[in-house]
């Protein structure tokens, strides 16, 4: 019922940090609000509701204001120090240069061709890797979670595989698949697989034994137990892992491109790096971050669809 912590191998970084704090405190409040009736105008209730919404608006404005100030200070100091040549823009880039580079990419295209094409290439690799990795992770997680013997037999192999710094496999896949999309997709797959696998496995293991007992007494066979009890129960874990793993899929795709590619955002960044175009590297990073955030947003939509039985999450916009 609550926001689950995700089991993360320590070697993995988490790009695209999600505002997961938003849901936690507000769940109860949201539930109560959905049950209680609409306040009548002019009553004490409506006055209280008005006061509360005004307070919420004030708080929202404060937060947006502070964010704006933070951004101005951050980018402003960067721009200023590089303009004044206290810091060499050749090595450290410059916000105006990055914006200019982005604009050139959008209007005139990149050194490798149109920007949208680079994004599409990387997205294709990441999505393929994400889908394959997530599917395999869910299937294996559930199988091993349900079948103790399988888990016992495979445990050392999985631990061993997880101990490998998996981006290295990108080099191997580059040899196996050459410049094709699959080298990158498989790199993304191995990154995604383990995160999803461990979560699905844990999710299956954490199913409330009471629910299992109840379903058994009600007459559920093994198949029903898996589809109606175990999988729905593990779903919150699995979906939580998908949030992190799309970011990882992009990491996998980009790393795969660094090992050899003709197009894609990773190749674009690689290219910029080799022409000492620091602004280009930053601009590439920015585009990748936007891609990860958009995908993350889509996954949130999917999550809310799939888990509509959970206490309703934040309905309106709530500052994090």
């Amino acid at each position: 019922m609550n926001v689950r912590s995700t089991l993360l191998p320590s070697s993995v970084d988490t790009p695209g940090g999600r505002p997961s704090l938003a849901g936690v405190g507000t769940q109860d409040g949201a539930t109560i609000a959905s049950i209680s009736s609409k306040p009548e105008p002019g009553s004490l209730d409506s006055e209280l509701a008005g006061r509360r919404s005004r307070a919420a608006r004030r708080r929202r404005l404060t937060i947006y204001g502070l964010r704006l100030i933070f951004t101005v200070v951050w980018l402003g100091s960067w721009e200023l120090t590089t303009r004044l040549n206290w810091v060499d823009p050749f090595f450290y880039g410059q916000p105006s240069g990055i914006v200019q580079r982005l604009w050139t990419w959008i209007t005139e295209g990149t050194a490798l061709g149109p920007l949208w094409f680079q994004m599409a290439v990387t997205m294709e690799e990441a999505v393929l890797g994400f889908l394959i990795g997530a599917a395999l992770g869910v299937v294996f997680g559930i199988l091993l979670g349900r079948i103790q013997l399988l888990a016992d037999v495979l445990a050392p192999f999985i631990k061993g595989a997880n101990a490998i710094p998996r981006v290295i496999l990108g080099g191997l896949f580059a040899i196996m698949f050459g410049l094709s999309v699959w080298g990158k997709a498989w790199t993304a797959t191995v990154l995604v697989f383990f995160v999803v696998f461990f979560n699905a496995f844990q999710g299956v293991r954490e199913v409330d034994p009471n629910l299992i007992a109840n379903a058994r007494v009600l007459g559920a066979d093994n198949r029903r137990m898996t589809t109606e009890i175990v999988i729905p129960s593990a779903l919150s874990w699995i979906l939580a892992s998908l949030h992190i793993s799309f970011g990882l899929a992009i990491v996998g795709a980009v790393v795969g491109e660094l090992f050899g590619a003709t197009a894609g955002m990773g190749q674009l960044v690689y290219n910029a790096q080799h022409t000492f175009d620091v602004d280009g590297v930053f601009a590439g990073m920015f585009v990748l971050a936007v891609m990860a955030l958009v995908a993350e947003g889509l996954i949130t939509v999917l999550e809310n669809r799939l888990i509509k039985w959970r206490p309703s999450r934040v309905s309106g916009e709530v500052p994090i």
Binding site: M1, N210, L211, A213, N214, V217, G219, S233, W309
Partner: protein
């Protein structure tokens, strides 16, 4: 009183568990009891005397380490047909609506979806939840979730209904209400009930017979007939003089066991 037709029979049943530390914990020792068809039997005993284990054995969720468990005269293998189980904690499925929760039993037994839903609607109405079919459990109160659990078990027409302190988490008013409704629903069925509770008042108000278990390892200390007339009103029956007599008789037995259990807990805490 060996009845050939006992709904439930436990013969010299012992149940042991291996503890994580490698020891052996005996929950039940040499327990023998019977429940007649249609009988409402309450099982009381101090904390940790193996009350819940008894239910787990009858339901087939656990197997006896020694002795025999017979349901409808048959030694149990797996989970016997015609068993309903209402758990102490919430065991309704949070991702299913009230309707889907109640319809689960018939569906698992092969009834088609629409027939199962039709039957489920009837049972939802019988436990007083009409209009809440499409709610999810988190949108209901604790008492309403208990009703869902009750309907979920009863829809399978159980010949045996096992209840493990089902109302212990409810507030007193809701609890009395639920107890009365349970009696009303039960009287319309021919099910045998085994009702586990630590509350002697609840046991006497509901049951035909009260079985007192000893402090763990549990075995039967004594059984007491409750010859109070039915239909009963749980809220008022406690004021009858006969109720007080029965209460006193059972309590004099139960008290010793509670004291033993309490001393042990103190000892365990001190070690």
């Amino acid at each position: 009183m060996a009845m050939a037709t006992a709904a439930i029979e436990l013969r010299n049943v012992t149940k042991r568990f291996a503890t994580p530390k490698g020891g052996i914990y005996t929950a039940l020792r040499d327990l023998t009891m019977e429940v007649a068809p249609g009988e409402f039997c309450a099982v009381v005993g101090p904390t940790g005397c193996g009350k819940s284990t008894t239910l787990a054995l009858i339901s087939g969720l656990e197997r006896a380490s020694a002795g025999e468990v017979l349901v409808m005269g048959e030694p149990i293998r797996g989970i016997p047909d015609g068993i309903g189980y209402v758990f102490q904690t919430d065991a309704v499925f949070p991702w299913k609506t009230v309707l889907e929760n109640v319809a689960a039993g018939p569906r698992y037994h092969g009834t088609t979806g629409s027939a199962a839903r039709k039957k489920a609607r009837e049972w939802i109405a019988r436990v007083g939840l009409a209009g809440f079919e499409d709610r999810y459990p988190h949108q209901l109160s604790g008492g309403m979730r208990k009703r869902v659990g009750l309907a979920q078990s009863l829809i399978n027409n159980p010949r045996i209904l096992l209840m493990d302190e089902p109302f212990s988490a409810l507030d007193v008013q809701t609890r009395t209400l639920m107890e009365n409704e349970l009696l009303a629903i039960w009287s319309a069925t021919s099910a045998s009930v085994v009702f586990v509770t630590h509350d002697l008042e609840e046991a006497i108000s509901l049951a035909d017979r009260v079985v007192v278990l000893t402090a763990g390892p549990g075995t039967v200390k004594g059984t007491y007939k409750v010859d109070l007339p039915r239909p009963r009103n749980v809220a008022e029956i406690r004021f009858q003089p006969r109720f007080a007599q029965i209460y006193e008789a059972i309590w004099s037995q139960l008290r010793d066991e509670v004291l033993v259990s309490y001393e042990r807990q103190k000892h365990a805490a001190a070690v």
